[in-house]
Every structure is written in structure tokens, then in C-alpha cells.
Amino acid sequence: MMLAASMGSEPYLILGAILFTMGAVGLLVRRNALVMFMCVELMLNAVNLSFVALSRELDDLGGQIAVFFVLVVAAAEVVVGLGIIVSIFRRRQGATADDLSVLKG
């Protein structure tokens, strides 16, 4: 606790930024729907980390409350998203997101 308390917020924010960038880049470059999904989760948690760090820095519980909301929404999103992905797997071979472009204009 002492160690953590003595540390500033910068390492947490830097880690959050790195995780967020990894997630964003992964989302853009990977084609497997499942992996893209994981990248989204990574981005969400990077933001959560930043929230918590800043909450401590600013001594404001609002940040932590926001994290709970993000967790709840993410859980719901996982349920829906995974459901969709599973049904795609059943209909097609593989889960390449680029194959699914029927909504093209």
C-alpha cells in the first residue's frame, strides 16, 4: 500500500495508453471477429485503469463509479456480442469480419 500510495499516476496512465493503443490497432488490423472483440475489451479496460488512477489522483469517487458502469455495460455487451459471433460461426466457416459486408451501400 505504501508503495502504491507513493507512486504517482503517470505509470498507470501510460500503461492505460499503451493498452488502449494495442486494442485500437488490434481492432483495425485483425480480421477475426473474436480477436476484434477481445481488442474492444482491452480498450475498455485501458479506460477503466485510467479512470481508477485519476479517481485516486483527484480524490473523487466519481471515476470509480464510472468504472462500475463500464463493467456492467461491458458484461452486457459481451453477452450480445458473443451471441452474434457464435451464430456467425454456425452459419459460416471462420469468423472473418470482412466477409460480412452485406450492408454495403
Partner: protein, 654 residues
């Protein structure tokens, strides 16, 4: 009783609705009897209301019965209500009375027609519309009835629509009436804008506060509307063609309904006309006088039995407008009532002749029918004497009164009216002689009896049908009782109708005393000495008698030898008024319309379609942005997020 005014229009409406549903199943003649009963019920209701109104004191004789709120729009409040006052009940009485007789007559006349029940359905709707026109307590309900009679006249004129000429006659009536409707509508708008109400009671109360200019515009526009409906110059063209319909319809349009609408409207709005600039009554009087003369000259040369009567109606309506323009509202309404009696009688009589002549309408083919159709002939001759102004017949009283007022307005207008009265005597006598007297021209085949008519029809390719009788021998016969009974009822009315407002002694002016509360605002009062009145009356009567004598001289004594000098081609063709309009509309007018059509198609439609195609082209390009690849959208989101973050950081929102 006065709460039950709504029963008057309700009867024909119920008859109409019932016939719409069950008419075809009822068939002939039950549908006809039902329709007749509906209108007769309406007549009974009118009589009851009339008696109830009689029981009131003079200035209490106006009842408004509001059935429901119709259009409550902010300050614009129109109720669905009826107004029973001396004017509207007078109209109701003769409209329903004569319509009942016409319905009864139609049962005989339309015998064997495949669309028997449909005919009565339209007739009931026609009477209903006319009653709405007359009874409405505001201009909008009157307008509703106004449009209703227009639509019904269209249905009925083109009743035998398989014939091209009938169908276009119906269209002509409808389109010409539209021009008048425009005037009426504008008058309604102006009235509301100026007075804030279109209720007749409200208009009467507020009219003294009208500015002269506003009143002038309203009165002029009302006159335009009345010109269309009541067939005055220059909009009279539809009425002579309106005889293309079955004869009972002509009787209904010419005598009881429709054409009287314009006269009624002007009489109803007399407080506004009284406030208008003086040129409006002058214009009404001049148009009326000219129409009376113009139509009378045309009637002189017509050969179709119904066309003579049709132009005669236009001419008599001209007399009514002359009366209104001269401020003689009572005389106008009086002439309208007597005209309803004798013109209804004449039209039904001519229908009886046509029926007996197996569909032949050309008078050159008739003659000597007196012995074959005694009832028709005698009643027709009563109508003839009435319209010609023979002493003590109905037209004698009403026409003399109009001419009396016209003389007071201007001796020139009086002169025109006198000539028209002379011509009335002339053309009616000519008709009676051609139809009922002289040698029969129907007892041989057409080719032998009337070679000129035969040649005419051969050239035009007209075959026996509506308007043209058989080419062989015709066997005229008297009509069934349903047709002669209305004639027998109308005969005495045409004979005695003038005593409603006899000029001989003051107490005899029933109609004037009765109508006084409604028309007191605009009514002009004569101050001429009695001797002058008598002189003018004798003069007018003499004119009618001279006309009759002249016709007798030409057609009976000299057996029509000089008729070519009188029946000029220009008169037969109606001064080429109709054909000039047709030529103009077909030639230069057509080019103008084509230009407008081009403008509409290319400029107006081009602008609209141009906007549409610009949107289409740009959205065709724009849709390619939607690739359907999830990762593209994700990239878009990311770029957007970065831009937003960049914006916030650089602008330092916090």
C-alpha cells in the same frame, strides 16, 4: 314547429340515401314513387313552417336552428344551421312544390329507362342541394348547396351520357358554373375579412358599417357568381345546352332549382348591395336587360321545342336581374315564382309533346297536335299566355312590375325590356302555333313531310334517338296521367299566380308584405303617380299583345311565308356567340394554353425534377462511403475520436 326546419332538407336526403342503397332493388316504378314521396314530405314540412311563421309578428319571422358546430377554427366559426325567414320559406315552398310535380311527372316520362332508379336518386340529391342553398344560415352552407346543384346538374344533363353531345353539355354546364363559383368564393372571403362573420343575420346587422369599396367588391363578386348560376351574359352558354338532359331535368333546372340560386343570393345579400357603389346595381340592371333582349332574339329563330324555352329562361332571368339592379327585389322574387310556375308548366308540357311525338323535338315536324293532346295543349297555352304577359295571367303582373321599376331606373333599360317583352310574346306564340296548330307534319314520313329537316339530318348524320324522332310516320298520343296531372296542377298556378302580388290594390300585395323584413334594406320605393303606373302597365301589356299578334300574323295567317326574313341564320346560331368562343378556344386560345402547358411542363416541373435529380446523383456518390466493412467504421470512429481529442486539447476547453 320551427325547430323542425331541418326536416325540409332531411326528406330528400333520406330519399337519396335510401335510393343509393336500395334503388336498384326497388326498380320501376317504386323508386320513383319513393323519391316523389320524399320531396312531397319536404313540401309538407315547408308548408308547416310557413304556417308557423305566419303566426308570428312581422319582425319575429326569422328562426335560426343550429344543428351543430361545423368549423370552429379560431375566430372563424361556422355553425351548421338553417335560417327560416320569409325569403327562404318562400323559396322552399315553390322549390319543393314544383319539384314534387316534376318527380311525379318523371315517373311517366322515364318509363322504361334502364337507369330509372338512378335518375330519381339524382333528382332527390338535386332538390336536397337546392334546399341547402336556400335554407343555409350562412354563406358557406349556401355555397355547399350551390356546388351541390352544380354537381347534380352535371349528373343529370349528361344523364344519357353514351351520347357524346350530352356528355359535353354536362361538362360545359359544370365548367361555366365554375367561373361563377370563383366569384362567390371570393365574395365569401371578403365578407369574412371585412365583417368577421359569414352568417346572414350577422351580415345584415353589420352591413351598414361596411366601407363602400369593400361592399362594392363583395357585391360585384356575388354578381359574378349569380351570373354563372343564373345564366346571364356572358356566362349564359351552359343553360341552352342544359336541355340535353331528360326534359324533367330541364324543368327542374329552369323552373324550380339551380338558376333561381343566383337571384336568391342577390336578394339575400341585398343589404350589402345597398352599401355598394352605385355602379354595381347599374351593372346588374344593364346585364339583365341586355341578356333579356339578347336571349329573346335567339329564341325567335330556334326550331327545337326545348331550345326556345331554354333561351326564354335566359331571357326571363334577365328580367329578374333587371329588377334586382333597379332595386325591385320583391318584383324579382315575384317574377321568379311566377316564372317557376309557367316555365315549369311549359317545360313539362314540351316534355309531354316530345313523349307523344316518340322523341321528336323539332317543331318543324309538329303542328296540329291540339286535337291529339288536348290536356297538354290547353295547359301549355295557359303557360304561353302567362309568359307572354296576357292580362291577368301570372306573367302579366310580375313582368309589368319589373318594367315599372326599370322605367324608374332608366328609360333606356325600360325600352330594352319592352322590346324583350314584345319578343317574348312573339316567340312563344310562334311556338304554340308551330306545335299545336296548322297542318300536321308528322302523318307522313319525314322525307315527304319536312324535306329540309330530312336533308339537314342526313347531312349531319343524325339518326333517330334523343332529340330526333323516327323518320317514318309518327302517331302522337296524349301522355299518361302521371305526366298530365302535374300539368293540370301547374296550369291554374300559372293562371292565378299573379294574384300573389297584385298591383291593383295595396292589400293585394301579399308577397311584398311577406318579404318586407328581409329585403327592406335594398328595396327601392316608387314614388311615381298612379296614372303613370297605369300607363306603363298598359304599355307593357300592349307590347306582349303586339308580339303575339305579329307572330299570329306571320305564322298562322300567312302560313309562315315570311319566316325566313325573321328567323335569320345569325339568330338560329345564337349570334355565333357559342361558336366564337369555340373558335377562339380552339385557335388562339389553344396556343395560349399550349404555352402555359409548356411552361408548366418545362419550367415548373423542371425545377421540381431538377432538385430531385441533384439529390439522386449526390446520394449515389455518397452511398459508396458505406463499405460494409466493420473495420472501416472502426477506423472512422477512431479518427473522429482523435480529432475530438485534438480539438479539446488545442482549444483548451477546460
Amino acid at each position: 314547429m320551427n325547430d323542425l326546419i331541418w326536416l325540409i332538407p332531411a326528406f330528400p336526403l333520406a330519399g337519396f340515401l335510401f335510393l343509393v342503397v336500395f334503388g336498384r332493388r326497388l326498380g320501376e316504378p317504386l323508386a320513383g314513387w319513393l323519391a316523389t314521396a320524399a320531396v312531397a314530405g319536404s313540401f309538407a314540412a315547408s308548408v308547416a313552417t310557413f304556417i308557423a311563421l305566419q303566426g308570428e309578428t312581422v319582425h319575429e319571422r326569422a328562426y335560426t336552428v343550429t344543428l351543430w358546430e361545423w368549423l370552429p377554427v379560431g375566430g372563424f366559426q361556422v355553425d351548421f344551421g338553417f335560417l327560416a325567414d320569409p325569403l327562404s320559406i318562400t323559396m322552399c315552398l315553390f322549390v319543393t312544390g314544383i319539384a314534387t310535380l316534376i318527380h311525379l311527372y318523371s315517373i311517366g316520362y322515364m318509363h322504361g329507362d334502364p337507369k330509372f332508379s338512378k335518375f330519381f336518386l339524382y333528382l332527390n340529391l338535386f332538390v336536397f342541394s337546392m334546399l341547402m342553398l336556400v335554407l343555409g344560415d350562412n354563406m358557406l352552407i349556401t355555397f355547399l348547396g350551390w356546388e351541390g346543384v352544380g354537381a347534380c346538374s352535371y349528373f343529370l344533363i349528361s344523364f344519357w351520357h353514351t351520347d357524346d353531345a350530352n356528355a359535353s353539355a354536362g361538362k360545359k354546364a359544370f365548367v361555366t358554373n365554375r367561373i361563377g363559383d370563383f366569384g362567390f368564393m371570393v365574395a365569401i372571403f371578403f365578407t369574412f375579412a371585412a365583417l368577421g362573420t359569414i352568417n346572414y343575420t350577422g351580415i345584415v346587422a353589420a352591413s351598414p358599417s361596411l366601407a363602400t369599396t369593400t361592399a362594392t367588391v363583395i357585391a360585384a363578386m356575388l354578381f359574378l357568381g349569380a351570373c354563372g348560376k343564373s345564366a346571364q351574359l356572358p356566362l349564359y352558354v351552359w343553360l341552352p345546352d342544359a336541355m340535353a338532359g331528360p326534359t324533367p331535368v330541364s324543368a327542374l333546372i329552369h323552373a324550380a332549382t339551380m338558376v333561381t340560386g343566383g337571384v336568391y343570393l342577390l336578394a339575400r345579400m341585398n343589404p350589402v348591395i345597398a352599401e355598394a357603389a352605385s355602379w354595381v346595381p347599374w351593372m346588374i340592371a344593364i346585364v339583365g336587360a341586355l341578356t333579356a333582349l339578347f336571349a329573346a332574339t335567339i329564341a325567335v329563330a330556334q326550331n327545337d321545342i326545348k331550345k326556345v324555352l331554354a333561351y326564354s329562361t335566359v331571357s326571363q332571368l334577365g328580367f329578374m336581374f333587371l329588377a334586382i339592379g333597379s332595386g325591385a327585389y320583391v318584383a324579382a322574387l315575384f317574377h321568379m315564382i311566377t316564372h317557376a310556375f309557367f316555365k315549369g308548366l311549359l317545360f313539362l308540357g314540351s316534355g309531354s309533346v316530345i313523349h307523344g311525338m316518340e322523341g321528336e323535338q323539332d317543331m318543324r315536324r309538329m303542328g296540329g297536335l291540339f286535337k291529339k293532346m288536348p290536356i297538354t295543349a290547353v295547359t301549355f297555352m295557359v303557360g304561353w299566355l302567362a309568359i307572354a304577359g296576357f292580362p291577368f295571367f301570372a306573367g302579366f303582373f310580375s313582368k309589368d312590375e319589373i318594367l315599372l321599376f326599370a322605367f324608374d331606373k332608366s328609360p333606356v333599360l325600360w325600352g330594352i325590356g319592352m322590346v324583350a317583352a314584345l319578343l317574348t310574346g312573339f316567340y312563344m306564340t310562334r311556338q304554340v302555333i308551330m306545335v299545336f296548330f296548322g297542318k300536321p307534319r308528322w302523318d307522313r314520313p319525314l322525307e315527304e313531310a319536312v324535306p329540309e329537316l330530312h336533308a339537314e339530318r342526313e347531312a349531319a348524320g343524325i339518326h333517330p334517338g334523343h332529340g330526333a324522332g323516327p323518320t317514318g310516320e309518327i302517331h302522337p298520343h296524349e301522355s299518361p296521367w302521371t305526366m298530365t296531372l302535374p300539368l293540370i296542377v301547374l296550369g291554374p298556378l300559372a293562371l292565378l299566380g299573379g294574384w300573389l302580388n297584385s298591383a291593383f290594390w295595396d292589400k293585394g300585395k301579399f308577397l311584398e308584405h311577406w318579404l318586407e323584413p328581409v329585403i327592406e334594406f335594398g328595396e327601392h320605393h316608387l314614388v311615381a303617380p298612379t296614372s303613370e303606373k297605369i300607363l306603363l302597365g298598359v304599355g307593357a301589356t300592349l307590347m306582349g299583345l303586339i308580339g303575339m299578334a305579329a307572330a299570329w300574323f306571320v305564322y298562322a295567317k300567312n302560313k309562315g311565308e315570311a319566316k325566313d326574313k325573321i328567323e335569320l341564320k345569325v339568330l338560329l346560331k345564337g349570334w355565333y356567340y357559342d361558336s366564337s368562343i369555340a373558335a377562339f378556344m380552339g385557335g388562339p386560345g389553344r396556343k395560349g394554353f399550349d404555352a402555359i402547358a409548356w411552361f408548366d411542363k418545362h419550367i415548373i416541373d423542371g425545377a421540381v425534377n431538377g432538385v430531385a435529380s441533384v439529390v439522386k446523383v449526390s446520394s449515389d456518390k455518397g452511398r459508396t462511403v458505406q463499405t460494409g466493412y466493420v473495420r472501416n467504421y472502426a477506423l472512422g470512429l477512431l479518427v473522429g475520436a482523435i480529432l475530438v481529442a485534438f480539438f479539446i486539447l488545442t482549444k483548451a476547453v477546460y
